[in-house]
């Protein structure tokens, strides 16, 4: 180990070092400019490093230093409201240091090293602690308590010797253990290793989004995983923002992975302007943004999803429910493909590495509802966007994603063009959480919830079949009963599924309201079918007034009264018939 380690070979973002005593995934500093890199392959004396920065001008013979630490993020107060690149460098700090263009060799702390936080200890000297235990709090943002935990790392167990409240920076020592270990407000965690939990729990609580089509037809559980394919112009951005704004997760992590610079800018300028509807404060107060555009180094793009999910897990450990959105996982997979091809690995399907499906599954597996080491229940729900090339769902990334996700929200450009929003296709989307979540709905909303949803789906499916016939023969040729089904389906589509994100009331729909809307629509279906059987003509039914009043209920705050009124009017109308 006497010999100095140095660069042997450089080919694009891949560098081979000699004499480097390193473990796989160790973080290294490459060259005179100390570029950040990670060990990804060891072959005899040759150690392959993927470099997170531009390698132009790097020469063989320049030194390589092993930091002996895996690629890690700094976890502590100050994450919220931050905008990072793929390796947790704050973009604002980068701008201050090197201007509008991203130069290399610049280091930036993930957390502001100078900011002082007011720490309130909840444990005290003499307490026995385990890794992950909560020992105090910091108010990170107004209304957001950041719970300070004993880092779940080796050496952090035993008895607290000292612990004091007061004002500290993230690097100050706030206390010590009897064994001499120092405790700080922040600690580092290797991004590729999932943070431990006491045990994982079944996803039996829905992530309530306030969007009828999600909550009712295709629910996502807290700790669940969903995929959302984003073809051109299908309204992905609005859908994501609605989820970020309204879903009942306490912390949002948004990863822009390999997307367009101008679009990322849109997110970066729009998110800080969004208001948290629940508190009236900026939504950024509980959001972490990670932005890595397509022309930023490919290795950092590959790392960005891990950076994001590690931060998400950290907040889960505090007992929060976290929603993570990754846009897009296809770009991430492409980064893997690119690095794999630089390593001259044998390619799998379409040039993607053979371990693509493992990596995707591993990543999605880090989602989940869990009992954390601190004894608090938290969750990480992952919503991953996929962008299949040419809109072809049979390509490997989409297919491997679909194999692990349980909810699929198929955004449909055709619906968007018809101005049907949210433009989720109800026939191709699915959710496998319906049954696990059943008990929650039975207890908290109504026992009939699942039955109603199934009825809705049946009607929509039947509509699809009938429309094919209509195309051939026209709707007049259908039996009256089927004409009625078409009408009910229309009511469902227009008065229930469509939801206006920009209307102050309709933008969020309570579960109870969702339920009552379903109830009223199905009530119409029932009375109308009865009337049909008693010989009333379909034309008469189609011109009744009450059913079309359901359209207005979406926009009304006092929906119960309104629905009751509609129901009685409906009954009166049909009684007359």
């Amino acid at each position: 180990m006497a010999e100095k380690s140095y660069i042997y070979r450089i080919a694009g973002p891949v560098v081979i070092a000699k004499n480097l005593n390193a473990r796989i995934n160790d973080l290294v500093r490459v060259g005179d400019e100390k570029l950040m890199g990670e060990v990804i392959k060891i072959q005899g004396d040759h150690v392959t490093i993927q470099v997170y920065e531009e390698t132009t001008g790097l020469k063989p013979g320049e030194p390589v230093i092993n930091t002996e630490e895996a690629l890690s993020v700094q976890l502590g107060p100050g994450l919220l409201y931050s905008i990072y690149d793929g390796i947790q460098r704050p973009l604002k700090v980068l701008e201050d240091k090197m201007g509008s263009f991203i130069q290399r060799g610049v280091d930036a702390d993930g957390l502001d090293p100078d900011k002082k936080w007011e720490f309130k200890a909840t444990s005290s000297a003499g307490d026995v602690v385990d890794p992950g235990m909560i020992i105090g709090e910091v108010e990170e943002k107004e209304g957001m308590t950041h719970r300070i935990m004993i880092p779940p790392l080796p050496g952090y167990e035993g008895t607290i010797k000292t612990l004091k409240s007061g004002k500290f920076t993230v690097n100050d020592v706030i206390g010590t253990l009897v064994n001499g270990t120092e405790i700080k407000l922040s600690h580092r965690w290797p991004v590729r290793i999932p943070r431990k939990v006491r045990n994982k729990l079944m996803p039996t609580i829905p992530l309530i989004t306030g969007q009828r089509i999600f909550d009712a037809l295709f629910p996502l559980a807290k700790g669940g995983v969903a995929a959302i394919p984003g073809p051109f112009g299908a309204g992905k951005t609005v859908a994501q923002q609605q989820l970020a704004k309204w879903c009942d997760a306490e912390v949002i992590v948004y990863i822009g992975c390999g997307e367009r610079g101008n679009e990322m800018t849109e997110v970066l300028t729009e998110f800080p302007e969004l208001e948290d509807p629940k508190t009236g404060k900026p939504l950024m107060n509980r959001t972490v943004l990670i932005a890595n555009t397509s022309n930023m180094p490919v290795a950092a793009r590959e790392a960005s999803v891990y950076t994001g999910i590690t931060i998400a897990e950290y907040y889960r450990d505090m007992g929060y429910s976290v929603a993570l959105m990754a846009d897009s996982t296809s770009r991430w997979a492409e980064a893997m493909r690119e690095i794999s091809s630089r390593l001259e690995e044998m390619p799998g399907e379409e040039g993607y590495p053979a371990y693509l499906s493992t990596r995707l599954a591993e990543f999605y597996e880090r989602a989940g509802r869990a009992m954390s080491l601190s004894g608090k229940e938290g969750s990480v729900s992952v919503i991953g966007a996929v962008s299949p090339p040419g809109g072809d769902f049979s390509e490997p990334v989409t297919q491997n994603t679909l194999r692990v996700v349980k909810t699929f929200w198929a955004l449909d450009a055709r619906l968007a063009q018809r101005r049907h929003f949210p433009s989720i296709n109800w026939l191709t989307s699915y959710s496998l959480y319906k049954n696990t979540l059943k008990d929650y709905y039975v207890e908290n909303v109504n026992p009939k919830w699942l039955e109603y949803i199934n009825r809705f789906m049946d009607i929509l499916q039947e509509e699809e079949k009938l429309l094919e016939i209509v195309q051939l023969v026209g709707s007049d040729a259908l039996p009256e009963k089927q004409q009625l089904t078409l009408e009910v389906a229309r009511i469902i589509r227009e008065y229930f599924l469509q939801q206006n994100a920009f209307h102050e009331v309709d933008t969020f729909c309570q579960l109870e309201k969702t339920y009552l809307l379903m109830d009223t629509i199905l009530h119409f279906s029932k009375v109308a079918n009865n009337a049909l059987e008693e010989g009333v003509g379909i034309e008469t039914i189609l011109v009744t007034d009450a059913k079309d009043k359901i359209a207005e209920v979406k926009f009304v705050k006092d929906y119960k009264k309104e629905l009751a009124k509609i129901r009685s009017q409906m009954d009166r109308e049909f009684d007359k018939l």
Partner: protein, 488 residues
């Protein structure tokens, strides 16, 4: 004194392998002295203690192992940047081609460029009027956008690019765009066509031209767009100009990329293109944009010919995932002798909404665009139906839509190469077309807007059959049209 080496071990395609050198930097510039005394240039592609791989821009013809000298210049490829770039014609490697002097400047920029910090970008939102209706009305271009033209071989993409370069302006401002033109592997004839046009219109004095022609070295094409974009960034961010960059033809660029990849015996990705093509293309296209606190902007119009008119081919596919939309040319329209043959249906501008807000163009712009799309799409669908059942079988409304599609192509899409339509002319033309339809069939347009601009005659009486679909409002969806088609 720089060391020279005579230690070439292998020559393969555009690459040479040099042994026993001093430590050579990655991407360093290389000078190669040929046995006959001429020199060639190259760039380090892969460097190690033992072997350095150099890609030779001018091709490796004539290189041997014993008499060829290799000199590593110790610096990466840079472009001397100055305002004098304007008006110059350069080779694809940035050398004078117009008989003028060498470029001299204290400022030299690395041509690889650096990624713009997403935090420092400014959202593009200034409407650019190209004078072409199909772009201005339905696929609006804004400053700082990258909007490629997806073309096919034999289609007039060059004419369109030139027309845009000639006519592009931001209404309300007087400054013309500076044009940076990068030709990669186009024919001499095409190049001359461009040059003649630039000279005739006087555009040359505010243009920088990089020409790599079909018979110029293919490997040089890798640096041509980077040269061009470096010049553009300089003009935009240092000289505060608004720059329009035209890159043609990106397909040739990608072919060169593949050629080098193959020569290096890399494992190929889709259709033999290298796996890093997405990132490579992104490092070009993403150099469009605007930066906070800077006056200028870089707007890109890359042109690519789709191989076999296939939009799912890796080149257009990966391009479409990086650029903010695309303008797609149609062979069918071209055959009908319609210029510019822009097919609006697969075309898209993702930044359009930012550029057509009130105060930028006109309050009806978005709705007019939606309505044009909707009518033309339906009209085109009906053509298929007519082929089966004949025109007589159509309802009146469908006949009108069919007619609309024809008129749309003939009057709206078709325009002269020198026809510079203002956005207001274009919108007026749209309303002229809409007058073929009854007011109530224009479902994508709000009533008050229709009130303001509709110029057609009010048909006083309605046919009873049409009445049935009255309370539809905005939701006049395909189903209903299908229902009606069925009835008819």
């Amino acid at each position: 004194m720089l060391k020279q080496y005579k230690t070439i071990s292998d020559v393969a395609g555009p690459l040479i392998f040099v042994k026993k050198t001093h430590p050579v930097g990655y991407a360093e510039l290389v000078e190669i002295k040929m046995p006959d005394g001429t020199t060639k240039n190259g760039q380090v592609l892969d460097t190690s203690e033992d072997t350095v791989v150099v890609q030779v821009f001018e091709g490796t013809r004539g290189i041997d192992r014993s008499r060829t000298w290799v000199k590593f210049l110790g610096e990466t490829i840079k472009l001397p940047v100055t305002k004098d770039l304007l008006g110059r014609i350069l080779t694809g490697a940035g050398k004078p081609k117009d008989g003028g002097p060498e470029l001299i400047s204290d400022k030299k920029f690395e041509i690889t460029g650096a990624a713009i910090n997403p935090y420092s970008r400014k959202s593009p939102a200034d409407f650019i009027q190209t004078g072409i209706s199909t772009i201005d009305a339905t696929n609006t271009l804004v400053r700082g956008q990258k909007l490629p033209i997806f073309s096919g071989s034999g289609l007039p993409h060059n004419e369109i690019a030139l027309q845009i370069a000639r006519q592009a302006k931001v209404p309300g401002t007087d400054g013309d765009f500076a044009v940076v033109f990068a030709a990669m592997g186009i024919t001499n004839e095409e190049a001359q066509y461009f040059m003649k046009d630039f000279e005739q219109t006087g555009a040359l004095k505010r243009a920088v031209v990089f020409l790599n022609l079909a018979d110029d070295p293919a490997v040089e094409r890798i640096i041509t767009p980077r040269m061009a974009l470096t010049a553009a960034e300089y003009l935009a961010y240092e000289e505060n100009m608004h720059v329009l960059v035209i890159l043609t033809d990106m397909t040739n660029y990608c072919e060169s990329l593949r050629e080098i990849g193959a020569a290096r015996e890399e494992i190929p990705g889709r259709r033999g293109y290298p796996g890093y093509m997405y990132t490579d293309l992104a490092s070009l296209y993403e150099r469009a944009g605007m930066i906070k606190g800077k006056e200028g902007s870089v707007t890109q119009i890359p042109i690519l010919t789709m191989v076999g008119d296939d939009i799912t081919h890796p080149i257009p596919d990966l391009t479409g995932y990086i650029t903010e939309g695309q303008i797609v040319l149609s062979r069918e329209l071209h055959r009908k002798n319609i210029y510019p043959p822009v097919d609006i249906l697969p075309s898209l501008s993702r930044l359009m909404n930012a550029g057509i807000n009130k105060g930028q163009t006109r309050d009806d712009h978005k709705m007019v665009s939606d309505q044009l799309y909707a009518n033309y799409a339906e009209g085109r669908d009906l053509r298929g139906l007519v082929a089966i059942v004949g025109e007589e079988a159509l309802s009146d409304k469908d006949k009108r839509l069919l007619n609309f599609a024809g008129e749309f192509e003939d009057r709206f899409v078709r325009q002269d190469k020198n026809d510079n339509r203002s956005i207001f002319d274009t919108l007026q033309l749209s309303w002229d077309l809409f007058s073929m339809m009854p007011k109530k069939d224009l479902t994508r347009i709000k009533p008050e807007i229709k009130e303001k601009y509709y110029v057609g005659e009010e048909p006083g009486k309605e046919k009873p059959g049409v009445h049935a679909e009255a309370p539809l409002g905005e939701e006049n969806t395909e189903e209903q049209n299908l229902k009606k088609a069925g009835k008819a």
